[in-house]
């Protein structure tokens, strides 16, 4: 378990982390989201004991990081941002060094190294100098050294950054497979990744915690969540707007924006009532030529923008872009 209490860190004029409170339980995979400079990496650096907080307390599996940093560090595995590694070592020699530093008993070192190399599929490059490896392999070596001692806590700063889609999926599989009983915190810029691997999402902005909940709750916050998108073949039937607007559970009907492909309406439900059934009924009875119709699950990037840039609507943000 990780407990972060009233954590603050300032760099000069920048309040990097501002009174952050967060608890992560074993079995949870917490996804850290937030714009660049929101304080994600700074928080992770404090949790792993690299940086000292200005204020606040961090408990890692019951060890106070300020009072017993060695014990706290011993139960964590950490992949720093960009996965920095000693370029002139080989994966095997690096893992040997980490195994010794992590005090893995010498009788178990070889098997721990083989296990990590196997999990990350590094067999082919295990004796090659790290500087000659591709980005994907380097990232996997970084992950291998983080999981080498099978830690209770894993802190992964952008574990899939710079990987190709297959490698991303591989890393996600690995994280999912290790999640049982472990505390995992990972940061990412990919909103969908949080849904794919995390059991909980935390959004930081300007050093403050803006959201802490299930990834599905995040999606449901979107104004598009539950709305029905109806696209028509050819010209829009003129009466469709009035018919859809007049439905009992419909709050609002909007034309689809040009960048959404146009040619249709978006129907918003009132009070979150499911409306697909009603809409389908009318489509059928009016014999409209509908090309595509589906319920929008909500848009993560929209919610993300609302949470991290409060006071600014999606439209303003689009105009800015």
């Amino acid at each position: 378990m990780i407990e972060i209490q009233h954590l603050s860190k300032r760099f000069g004029n920048l309040q990097a982390v501002d009174d952050l409170n967060l608890t992560v339980l074993p079995g949870e995979v917490l996804g850290f989201l937030g714009p660049n400079g929101a304080g994600k990496s700074t928080t992770m650096k404090m949790v792993t004991g690299f940086l000292q907080p200005d204020a606040g307390r961090i408990l890692v599996m019951g060890h106070d990081l300020a009072k017993d940093p060695i014990a706290a560090k011993a139960c964590m595995g950490y992949l720093p941002e960009g996965a920095p590694l000693y370029p002139d070592m080989t994966p095997t020699s690096l893992l040997r060094f980490v195994a010794a530093a992590r005090n893995i008993p010498s009788a178990q070192r070889a098997s721990a190294i083989d296990r990590a190399i196997g999990l990350l599929e590094l067999e082919a490059v295990r004796d090659q100098r790290i500087e000659t490896l591709s980005k994907g392999f380097k990232r996997r070596v970084g992950l291998a050294q983080a999981i080498l001692h099978d830690p209770d806590v894993l802190i992964l700063d952008e574990p899939t950054d710079g990987l190709d889609p297959n490698q991303k999926e591989q890393v996600r599989d690995l994280i999912r497979s290790m999640a049982k009983g472990k505390v995992i915190i990972l940061s990412t810029h990919i909103l969908e990744e949080v849904e794919a691997v995390c059991s909980r999402a935390a959004i930081l902005s300007e050093g403050r915690l803006r959201f802490n909940g299930l990834p599905s709750e995040l999606r449901e916050r979107s104004r598009f969540a539950g709305s029905v998108e109806v696209r028509f073949e050819g010209d829009l039937p003129t009466e469709a707007f009035d018919v859809l607007s007049s439905l009992a559970n419909v709050a609002l009907v909007e034309a689809l924006a040009a960048e959404e492909g146009g040619q249709g309406w978006r129907v918003f439900p009132a009070n979150g009532q499911p409306i697909l059934f009603e809409v389908t009924d009318h489509v059928r009875s009016h014999r409209w030529k509908v090309r595509d119709m589906h319920v929008d699950r909500g848009r993560l990037d929209d919610v993300f923008r609302e949470i991290t840039r409060p006071g600014e609507t999606a439209n303003q943000a689009q105009q800015k872009a």
Binding site: F50, I70, Y78, L85, Y86, M89, A101
Partner: protein
């Protein structure tokens, strides 16, 4: 301390796993040999001892040790590996000491390889082996002091070139402090107490004292406490500036 040993082992591996070790050793041996036997007027002096050999050590170290120490922390900071290193369950002191000791042992290896000079004078005459041994000890201690300076300077920056140049200048100041010319100048402008201070801080004076064959505890304490102080400062600097 386990941390010290683990870091020490990795560092030594890094020296010998790259051309750094071999380039350094070859240059150290060629330069020390050339300077001793040609410029040091070994033959002209007609004496079977290693005084000309040890006389060039302060200058040799001045050029070569900053080249060895510049990477100690600057490289870790530049590549970001400092973050991986300092989040391992080892202490800051262990990491600083491990890196320093690895570099010091490496210099020790270089010094060991120069013992061929010793065999040469043994062949040529009957040198005072005690004095030569003291010379080696003094030289090794002085190398440690230079290294500790270099390690501290390297902890301030990400840039190895800056680390090299600044270390060289600082080492030069510590070296010059005891030189007769500098001392004469100091006597003219500084009060006597300050002059004594400068003299007592000079690596050169303490090295000369040991190399003469007089093993005074004070010289030993000077070198070891200077190294200790510099390494302590080294750990504090990294702790304070690692975020950048």
């Amino acid at each position: 301390m386990r941390g010290t040993f683990v870091v020490l082992k990795r560092e030594l591996g890094a020296y010998f796993g790259t051309p750094v070790a071999y380039v350094f050793l070859i240059i150290f041996l060629v330069l020390s040999g050339y300077l001793t036997w040609n410029l040091g007027q070994f033959y002209e002096l007609g004496q079977a001892d290693l005084r000309p050999f040890f006389a060039i050590h302060p200058l040799l170290y001045l050029a070569l040790i900053p080249a060895l120490s510049m990477r100690l922390w600057a490289e870790e900071r530049r590549s970001g590996t400092i973050e991986s290193l300092l989040t391992l369950p080892i202490t800051m002191g262990g990491a600083v000491l491990g890196k320093f000791l690895a570099a010091w042992i490496f210099i020790g290896v270089a010094l060991l390889l120069t013992t061929t000079n010793w065999f040469s004078v043994l062949y040529l005459g009957e040198p005072d082996n005690g004095v030569i041994l003291a010379g080696y000890l003094g030289s090794f201690l002085m190398a440690g002091a230079y290294l500790a300076i270099g390690s501290l300077v390297s902890s301030f920056t990400k840039n190895q070139v800056i680390a090299f140049v600044v270390s060289l200048v600082v080492c030069l100041l510590f070296y010059l402090a005891g030189q007769p010319g500098v001392m004469d100048f100091a006597k003219g402008v500084l009060p006597d107490v300050a002059v004594e201070w400068v003299r007592s801080l000079s690596l050169y004076t303490h090295f000369q004292a040991i190399a003469r064959g007089v093993l005074d505890l004070r010289d030993l304490v000077f070198f070891l406490s200077l190294i200790g102080l510099l390494l302590f400062a080294n750990a504090v600097v990294i702790d304070q500036t690692k975020a950048r």
